[in-house]
C-alpha cells in the first residue's frame, strides 16, 4: 500500500496529501550502512510502532523496515540516524539527550543525521507531536542496546562479568581492577551489527541525568553566528536562481504565454511545461526581469469570496469524499431524548477563519541533476514525502531522488508539501545546472496552504446542577482533532463534516484541536453563564479526567482565580484542553478600553506532558505556543475575494510582535511516572477560549468567531445584534 493511501486512517486531516501534484511534467543505494567498523544497532519497526514509520514490520529485515540506526565508530563518535526533521522544535537536541542518557556518552560525541533520504531510514514525517513519544523511546532502546553490547565486549576482553562493569562518559570501566576503555577502543577492528532488543531496560525518568535537564540547543552557536545554512542559504557550483510565473488568482489556468521577450534575454532559460512557466538565470534579479517580460493570458474561473465562506462550508462536498475523511459520528446514548428532558438547553455556533503559518523562512529548494539522479535540498517536514512527489513528477524511481533537509526555518505544519522542490528541480533540469528557488513572502501567502476555516455547531443540555446530560457537536471542514469532549456527558453525538474548501488547506500546529477546543470551551463558559455558575466550577462539575483536572486546578490556583473578580473593561477567562497525550489549562486577564481595543495583560498556563525531557526547551515551546496562539485568537485571518488573497504581505497580515506580549507565567507539571508526550502543539489550545471568556467577562459580549477582535471589540449595541441568533 502506498504511503498516500495509508494516511487517511492515520490522520484524517492531512488534506494537502490528497491534492494532486501542482504540475505533471512530460516524460523526459542507499549505502547508509556501508560503515567501516564499529557497533551498529538497527531499530526495526514492529507492528506497535508501524504507524510512526508508515509501515509494518513483517518478514526479513529490509531497508524499509528500519526506523533508525545508531553507530559507534572506532574513534568513539556516535552517529544516530533518523528521518525526522528539525524545524525549530529542538528535537535534534532532545533526541541527542535521549541517546546520551542511555549510552552514557558525552553529548558532544553524538551526531544526529536527520532528514536525508539517502542517509536516514524512511520516516513518514515530522508532525503530530510524535517524535518524543515514538522516536525518542526507539533511540533510547538503540542506545541501551549499544551500551550493553559494549559492556559485553569489555567483559570478554577482560574476562570478567558484564555486571561488574560501569559505563559512563563514553567509557566502560571495571572498578575492581581499574581497567577502562573508551567505546571506540572497544569496537576496534570489528563490525558488530545488532538489532534492537525489545527487552532492554531503559533508565526510568527519576534516574535521568542528561535527559530531563536543560541543555542548550546543540547547534545553537551556528544560529547566533549566522553560520547555519538553511536550504535557502545553500549554493552549489554553477548554481542559478529561479522564479516561477504565478496566476493572478486561485483556479486560473494558462491559456497562452508569449515567452519571446524573456527568451531574447541572454543568460536566461525559460521553461514552459504544461501549466508550469518558470525562468532561471545567473542572478535572481535577471530571472525576475525575464519573468516580468513574460506575456501570459490567463483563463479564470469563478471563485468564492470570504463573505460567503461559512455558508459554503456547511454544504457537503461534491462528490462525497471516499477517502475516509468523514469518519463515523461518535454517538453515545440519545442526545435527542436527553435534550428534551434537560433542565437547560443551549445552542450556539462558532467559526474559525483560515490562517497562515507564515514560517519566517519561506519555501526554498536547491535542485541538482547529476547523471539522471536528482538531489534537492529543501526545508520540509516530510523529506520522504517530498522525495515521492519528486519521483512522481519526473517519472523516476525513488532511488534516483535524494532529498536533504537542513535544519529548517520553521514549519508549524505548513511545510508538508514539496511544490518548491518540484519547481526548482524542473528549472534545474531545463537549465542543465543547479537552480535555487526561494518563494517570496507573497508566494508563501498565496500559494502555500492554510489552516482550515470551519463552522462548529454545539447543542447541549445540563441538569439543575450544571452537569451535562447531552452534548452534540458538528464541525464543518476545520477537522476532527480533539473533537471528542473530555467532559463526562452521558449522551453524545459528535461529528466531523468535510467540505469543499475554497482555499488550499492543510495541517497547522495541533490541527483542528484549536478550533474544536475554542468551540467546546466557549460553550462551557456559556453554559456557566446560563446557569449563573463560575466557569471553573461548571468545569469541575463535569470533569473526571484527573490529569486535566490537575492542570486546571494548578492554573486556577497560580492565577488566583478564586479571588479574580471581573469588572467592566477588565475580565478574566479560563479554559483547558487535552490533545496528543498532553494536558493544558490557561487563565488570562484582559483589558478592553472604551474604543474596544483588547490588551492581554496576563497568561497563566499549566501544562503536563508526562516526564519532562528538557525543561527549558519545553518552556520555550509552551511560551511560543501561547504567543503564537494570541495571533490566531485575536487578529490573524486570511482575507480573500473571488479567489484572490487580499492580505498576502506582512504589512497586511498581522502576526504577534513584542508589543502583543502579556505577562506570561508557565507551570510545568513533571510526571516522571508517565511516558513523555510531544509538547510543541497542545499548549496553544487554551488561549483562544480563555480570551473569549475574559472578553465576555469584561464586556458582556460573547464573541464566537476566531479571530475574536481583529479590529477591536464591536460596540455593545452592535455586539447585541450580532449576538441575537
Amino acid at each position: 500500500m502506498s504511503e498516500k493511501q495509508r494516511d487517511p486512517d492515520l490522520e484524517p486531516e492531512r488534506y494537502e496529501l490528497r491534492e494532486g501534484l501542482p504540475y505533471r511534467f512530460e516524460l523526459g543505494r542507499r549505502g547508509f550502512l556501508q560503515l567501516l567498523g564499529g557497533v551498529v544497532v538497527l531499530v526495526v519497526t514492529t507492528d506497535a510502532d508501524g504507524q510512526e514509520s508508515g509501515r509494518t514490520g513483517a518478514g526479513a529485515i529490509t531497508d524499509r523496515d528500519l526506523a533508525a540506526w545508531l553507530h559507534v565508530s572506532e574513534d568513539g563518535t556516535v552517529t544516530v540516524s533518523t528521518g525526522k526533521a528539525e524545524v525549530g522544535q529542538n528535537i535534534r537536541t532532545s533526541l541527542t539527550q535521549a541517546v546520551a542518557e542511555e549510552l552514557r556518552a558525552p553529548l558532544a560525541s553524538i551526531r544526529m543525521v536527520m532528514g536525508d533520504t539517502d542517509l536516514t531510514p524512511f520516516d513518514m514525517g515530522t508532525f503530530g507531536s510524535r517524535t518524543t513519544p515514538f522516536m525518542a523511546p526507539q533511540l533510547r532502546r538503540a542506545a541501551a542496546t549499544a551500551r550493553e553490547l559494549l559492556k559485553e565486549l569489555a567483559a570478554q576482553e577482560w574476562g570478567v562479568e558484564p555486571a561488574a562493569l560501569v559505563v559512563a562518559e563514553g567509557r566502560v570501566t571495571h572498578p575492581v581492577t581499574g581497567r577502562s576503555l573508551a567505546f571506540g577502543a572497544l569496537t576496534k577492528g570489528q563490525k558488530l551489527v545488532r538489532t534492537l532488543g525489545e527487552d532492554i531496560p531503559l533508565t526510568p525518568a527519576e534516574r535521568w541525568t542528561v535527559a530531563g535537564r536543560s541543555v542548550p540547543k546543540v547547534n545553537g552557536r551556528d544560529h547566533v553566528t549566522g553560520r547555519h545554512r538553511y536550504a535557502s542559504d545553500l549554493t552549489r557550483p554553477g548554481m542559478w536562481h529561479g522564479t516561477v510565473l504565478r496566476p493572478p488568482a486561485i483556479g486560473a489556468t494558462l491559456a497562452s504565454v508569449d515567452t519571446s521577450a524573456a527568451e531574447a534575454m541572454s543568460g536566461v532559460v525559460v521553461v514552459r511545461d504544461g501549466d508550469f512557466v518558470g525562468v532561471a538565470a545567473s542572478r535572481a534579479s535577471a530571472a525576475a526581469r525575464a519573468r516580468d517580460a513574460l506575456r501570459p493570458v490567463w483563463k479564470t474561473t469563478p471563485q468564492p469570496s470570504g463573505r460567503d465562506l461559512y455558508d459554503r462550508l456547511r454544504k457537503p462536498p461534491e462528490p462525497e469524499p471516499s477517502d475516509g475523511r468523514r469518519g463515523a459520528p461518535h454517538v453515545v446514548g440519545s442526545v435527542a431524548d436527553a435534550l428534551s428532558s434537560a433542565h437547560r438547553r443551549l445552542e450556539s455556533t462558532y467559526t474559525v477563519a483560515y490562517i497562515a503559518h507564515v514560517p519566517l523562512e519561506p519555501r526554498a529548494a536547491v535542485a541538482e541533476w547529476i547523471d539522471g539522479r536528482l538531489t534537492v535540498w529543501t526545508g520540509t517536514q516530510r523529506p520522504f514525502g517530498v522525495r515521492g512527489e519528486l519521483a512522481e513528477a519526473f517519472h523516476l524511481p525513488e532511488e534516483k531522488v535524494r532529498v536533504i533537509v537542513p535544519d529548517t526555518g520553521s514549519g508549524y505544519g505548513g511545510k508538508h508539501t514539496g511544490e518548491c522542490a518540484v519547481e526548482a528541480a524542473r528549472l534545474a533540469k531545463a537549465a542543465g545546472r543547479p537552480v535555487k528557488l526561494v518563494w517570496s513572502r507573497e508566494e508563501e501567502f498565496r500559494w502555500a496552504y492554510f489552516r482550515p476555516a470551519g463552522v462548529i455547531d454545539v447543542h447541549s443540555g445540563v441538569d439543575a446542577e450544571g452537569r451535562l446530560v447531552a452534548w452534540e457537536m458538528h464541525n464543518y471542514n476545520s477537522g476532527s482533532a480533539a473533537i471528542r469532549t473530555p467532559y463526562a456527558a452521558p449522551n453524545q453525538r459528535i461529528e466531523f463534516h468535510p467540505s469543499d474548501s475554497p482555499l488550499r488547506q492543510g495541517s497547522y500546529r495541533v490541527l483542528a484541536a484549536t478550533a474544536n477546543n475554542f468551540a467546546r470551551e466557549s460553550h462551557m463558559d456559556e453554559l456557566a453563564a446560563a446557569m449563573k455558575l463560575d466557569p471553573l466550577e461548571l468545569r469541575r462539575r463535569n470533569l473526571e479526567d484527573p490529569r486535566l483536572r490537575a492542570v486546571l486546578e494548578a492554573a486556577a490556583d497560580r492565577f488566583g482565580w478564586a479571588k479574580a473578580t471581573s469588572e467592566p473593561g477588565h475580565g478574566h477567562g479560563i479554559a483547558c484542553g487535552v490533545e496528543k497525550g498532553s494536558y493544558v489549562a490557561t487563565c488570562t486577564e484582559v483589558r478592553v478600553d472604551a474604543s474596544g481595543d483588547v490588551r492581554v495583560l496576563r497568561l497563566v498556563t499549566a501544562f503536563e506532558c508526562g516526564a519532562i525531557v528538557n525543561p527549558e526547551h519545553l518552556r520555550n515551546q509552551v511560551e511560543g505556543c501561547l504567543v503564537m496562539g494570541l495571533g490566531g485568537a485575536l487578529f490573524e485571518a486570511v482575507e480573500f475575494d473571488k479567489g484572490e488573497i487580499l492580505n498576502p504581505r506582512l504589512s497586511l497580515y498581522r502576526v504577534p510582535r513584542v508589543s502583543d506580549l502579556p505577562e506570561i507565567d508557565i507551570m510545568l507539571l513533571d510526571r516522571k511516572d508517565l511516558p513523555s508526550a510531544g509538547a510543541g502543539e497542545t499548549p496553544i489550545v487554551g488561549v483562544a477560549p480563555a480570551l473569549a471568556g475574559a472578553i465576555f467577562a469584561a464586556t458582556a459580549t460573547r464573541l464566537r468567531a476566531l479571530p475574536l477582535a481583529p479590529r477591536g471589540i464591536p460596540r455593545p449595541r452592535e455586539a447585541a445584534s450580532r449576538r441575537g441568533r
Binding site: K217, V224, T225, G226, R227, H228, E361
Partner: protein, 167 residues
C-alpha cells in the same frame, strides 16, 4: 535588452573588508550580501521591511537590507551577523541568546542580534521600553519574544561596568 544591462561594479566595505562586486542598479543590499558575497546569515523574510530578518548595520545603524539598494551603500561600512564576533569570540548578545535559549528555528536570530548589538552600542543600559521598542520591528514566528527580551537584558547587564572590570 539583456538581463546584465544594468550591472555595475561597486566597492563595498563589509565586516571591515573591502569587496568589489558586480551589482544591478536595482539590486537590494540583501541580494548582494547573500548571492554575491555568500554572507547568508542575513535572511530574507518579507521583502518589505516588516520582519527584520534582513537587518544589518550601515555605518553602525540598523538597516533593513531588503529595502536598501546596494548601490547606495558604496563607501559605507556594512556589518552583518558574520561580523559581530570579536576575534573569534562571541559578542555578549550572542552569548546571551545562547544561554537563554532565545530561539527555536533560529531564522530570525541573526537580525535580532544585529539589532540588539546596535541598541547596546547606543544605549549601554536600555530600559525595558527601549528594548521592546527596538525589537518591535522584528518578527519571531516561533514567538520566543519573552526570551529574546530576557537575552538582551542579560547582555546589557553583562556589559555593565563593574569594579573589577571598568570599561
Amino acid at each position: 535588452m539583456g538581463p546584465e544591462h544594468a550591472v555595475a561594479s561597486l566597492e563595498l566595505t563589509v565586516n571591515g573588508v573591502r569587496r568589489r562586486v558586480e551589482v544591478d542598479a536595482e539590486e537590494s543590499l540583501l541580494s548582494v550580501l547573500r548571492d554575491e558575497l555568500d554572507l547568508t546569515g542575513t535572511k530574507y523574510g518579507c521583502g518589505e521591511g516588516q520582519c527584520g530578518a534582513c537587518t544589518v548595520l550601515v555605518d553602525g545603524r540598523p538597516t533593513r537590507s531588503c529595502l536598501t539598494k546596494a548601490v547606495t551603500v558604496g563607501g559605507r561600512a556594512v556589518t552583518t551577523i558574520e561580523g559581530i564576533e570579536e576575534n573569534g569570540r562571541l559578542h555578549a548578545v550572542q552569548e546571551a541568546f545562547l544561554e537563554v535559549g532565545a530561539m527555536q528555528c533560529g531564522y530570525c536570530t541573526p537580525g535580532l542580534i544585529v539589532e540588539a548589538v546596535a541598541l547596546l552600542r547606543r544605549e549601554r543600559d536600555p530600559s525595558e521600553t527601549e528594548i521592546a521598542r527596538a525589537m518591535e520591528g522584528h518578527i519571531c514566528r516561533c514567538c520566543t519574544y519573552p526570551r529574546i527580551l530576557r537575552a538582551i537584558r542579560q547582555a546589557a547587564h553583562a556589559a555593565r561596568p563593574t569594579k573589577e572590570n571598568p570599561r
